[in-house]
Symmetry: C2
């Protein structure tokens, strides 16, 4: 049924019947639901609806389908691309999954947990830990982001190198379709070749095809010990050489490989002088983490062998292995303080890019130079998950002058320069944050026309009313079109 | 354009123009292309077309689209479910990818290789090895199956426990659509959140949505040493307990965990007495493999610690660690001889099922008993990749009487009993072999109606002419239908 404003009062009654009056919010301050975490988007929902079960989600979606009303699914609302808040028309239903937060089951022998979409990531991590196991998805927002949001956006984080993205950690899904049908795909199977892989289609689709209500996540045995080290390199080439050496010697024990440019660390020294930086300033500092199945002693032996070999090969010039859990934590704290130090320093333009690891040295050299030439004084804050080819290649505005003016004048041109370079090197303009509202137009410009037309055909097939999170990720194009 | 037999002569001219006259085969003995490996299906193609490049594949698909003709893509033609041969109408174009067999590139620093669909798996393995790296996809057909077929069917094999299925080893694809458009998705990225994951949709779709022409595969460092051990358990429960212990102690070093029932091994003793069986007969024998990044000594130390702990815990009753590469190979040879010994013993009914690992003991106990009651004398040949929850739960016909009669009378009922039990335990009727022609009707019966309707909507969206490998995997339903 097409949208018709005159039926909205009956929609309200339908929504209340679906989830109970107490869980349909209208009026008052709903900014926790209507405004995104970065405070860049502030919409207005027809109502905020908070179902408590899969059946209630299905009832809500049937009601919305009956009224031709759009639905915006929302988890912890911690996304960075404006994908989980309504537009400002006041006609969209904001479907918040927060009440569906149970861990339904943990299967120790199968190494899986079944968890509802609204479960906060950290709560899921803790439930796994209580069962003696590890849910190896970890990111800055873990205290408030939810499993459903993690899967809808295919979250990355700090352990992708070893365990994969959220996508690789998911074995099965429960999904409610735009028409309110429930796909029961909560399989805990590691092998299942029975048709198209619907799971991977919903993962990363940012709520534009349906609503993830629960998932089966892979768990891993907990490592006996985790240990961290810092090493310094003279160049990005050397960082890549160190990565290769570490992958060969530590194999799957290597769970972290993060790079930090000297300028990035200099901002931490300037704004957080109390955070220890154990090694002298150098063009590049690498944080390595080993998670060992045997013991802390064994992890140390691997680190010592690796770092000695790297020193001998001239790949690093200095290194420090953490001698305690506290020192390991302090090294991670240094890495995680870069974003905050950047914020203290002032306005900046963020990029979340991925490249083939082998192309990173050339990309960095040529793009650094091009930015410096085009925007004299602009300062590169380069750091990220080198092991995954994922850089947060951020641009801090020049010292002096108005930062806001610089942004207003140059943000678009800076993005164009960086994204052109990313494309030329076979990279991605969104490694782990997704598209949402922020990069929708960029995606339409830069993704291949064939890929866009395939994606649009899928969107129109699974959401023919184009009501699921409209305006996010993809312009679905002409609803009557077929693939070329 | 709908199919019209009168245009077939011009189709032939179009195909010859697309790939050259020498690569369009018509007439003569084409059974290598038209008959499947198990010799259960023998079709007849309009022509066998062997393109040499992606552009030629696109030209072939445009020609077929122009004539409304169906296309059956084929790699090494080693599939077990009849998915890669034409039907017997003589109107389908058999598109064999064998000439597209190049390794296009190996990127050592990025740990990836770009390889064409027709490249034989073993050739790809060898190219990776020559670059000092490992392509960890390994299965019995590796000497003749191709990368394109491996990806179209999401092949499994013996190293899934550590490295995943073919799906998890693929980072990017090049695909030609049914209309002859080329999707250039040959990304070597480990993170890329820019829209729906088309890659995972084509992987495992058995040629029903388009033609995979090339792929970027993940490589891994080669382990310093691989070592194998055998251990014997009194029950399936103990096998599962041993798996848990091995995963906790060896973590990602554990690359193989195969179980073999005593009856399975007794067939090897009977038909291949020359193959050593180092441990005395026991209800269950487990083959474990460790691939170690450090050394053979370290692998041995892990094995000794693990097996000692398992003995102490009463999980195993005896064990033998291979003392040489030759002994390791001999243990694998024992495992791989089961299928052959089964064939020597006579006719049997094969099942390729997956279950949550935790459900396997109950499944085996109850299904063994139900089969014995329903089909007295039928003998269970149970073995497989327990680490992945994947059993080849085969049924050997009773001794005495006509085997062919038993099959004719009972095959359907045996399958129904086994698949009912699989479903009741949350399992899959096809773990690694796929659906093809063999299990298409079974899939339609057993997959949830919502999943089927989603799959059909995707099929109709991406192949609106329903011309890609028709009759395989999925009945696409009414072409004008939309999702419910």
């Amino acid at each position: 049924m097409p949208f018709n404003a005159s039926t909205l009062p009956t929609l309200l009654a339908d929504l209340r019947a679906a989830v109970g009056e107490a869980h349909v919010l209208q009026g008052g301050d709903l900014s926790a639901y209507e405004r995104d975490w970065r405070k860049r988007w502030h919409g207005r929902a027809f109502a905020v609806v908070r179902p408590g079960s899969t059946a209630e989600v299905a009832a809500v979606l049937r009601a919305c389908a009956g009224h031709g009303v759009a639905v915006v699914p929302q988890g912890g609302n911690t996304g960075l691309v404006g994908g989980s808040v309504p537009d400002d028309t006041g006609t969209q239903v904001l479907l918040n999954l927060g009440r569906m937060n149970r861990v339904r089951a943990i299967d120790v022998a199968n190494l899986t947990m079944t968890v509802e979409a609204g479960c906060v990531l950290q709560a899921a991590q803790e439930a796994a830990e209580a069962a003696g196991l590890l849910l190896p998805l970890s990111l800055a927002a873990e205290g408030s982001c939810t499993i459903g949001g993690n899967l809808s956006t295919n979250a990355g984080g700090t352990q992708v190198l070893r365990y994969g993205n959220a996508r690789e950690l998911c074995l099965g899904l429960e999904v409610v379709t735009p028409h309110g049908e429930v796909w029961e795909g909560l399989s805990g199977l590691r092998k299942d070749n029975t048709g198209y892989d619907l799971r991977h289609l919903y993962i990363g689709s940012e709520g534009t095809l349906g609503v993830i209500t629960a998932a089966v996540m892979r768990l891993h045995p907990q490592p006996a010990a985790s240990m961290t080290a810092l090493a310094v390199c003279e160049s990005v080439d050397q960082c890549v050489a160190l990565l290769q050496l570490a992958q060969a010697r530590a194999a799957a024990s290597l769970t972290g490989f993060e790079v930090m440019s000297d300028f990035a660390l200099s901002l931490v020294r300037k704004h957080f002088p109390q955070i220890p930086q154990p090694l002298p300033p150098s063009p590049w500092t690498v944080l390595l983490e080993i998670s060992d199945a045997e013991s802390a002693d064994h992890a140390r032996t691997i680190f010592e062998g690796l770092l000695e070999a790297a020193l001998e090969a001239g790949v690093i010039t200095d290194a420090a292995v953490a001698s305690s859990v506290a020192q390991s934590r302090s090294m991670w704290h240094l890495r995680e303080s870069i974003s905050m130090a950047q914020a203290e320093e002032g306005l900046n333009i963020k990029h979340d890019i991925a490249l083939p690891v082998s192309r990173i040295p050339t990309f960095v050299a040529s793009t650094d130079a091009a930015l410096e030439q085009a925007f004299p004084g602009a300062r590169l804050v380069n750091f990220g998950h080198l092991g995954d080819g994922n850089l947060h290649y951020n641009v801090q505005v020049p010292v002096g002058g108005s930062a806001a003016n610089f942004l207003a004048q140059h943000e678009h041109a800076v993005n164009a320069l960086v994204y052109d370079a990313v494309q030329a090197h076979g990279g991605s303009i969104s490694a782990e944050h997704g598209i949402g509202a922020l990069k929708r137009e960029e995606l339409a410009r830069r993704k291949s026309p064939v890929a866009l037309s395939l994606m649009r055909a899928i969107k129109r097939a699974l959401d023919p009313g184009l009501r699921m999170n409209p305006g996010r990720m993809l312009d679905p194009g002409d609803p009557t079109a077929t693939v070329p």
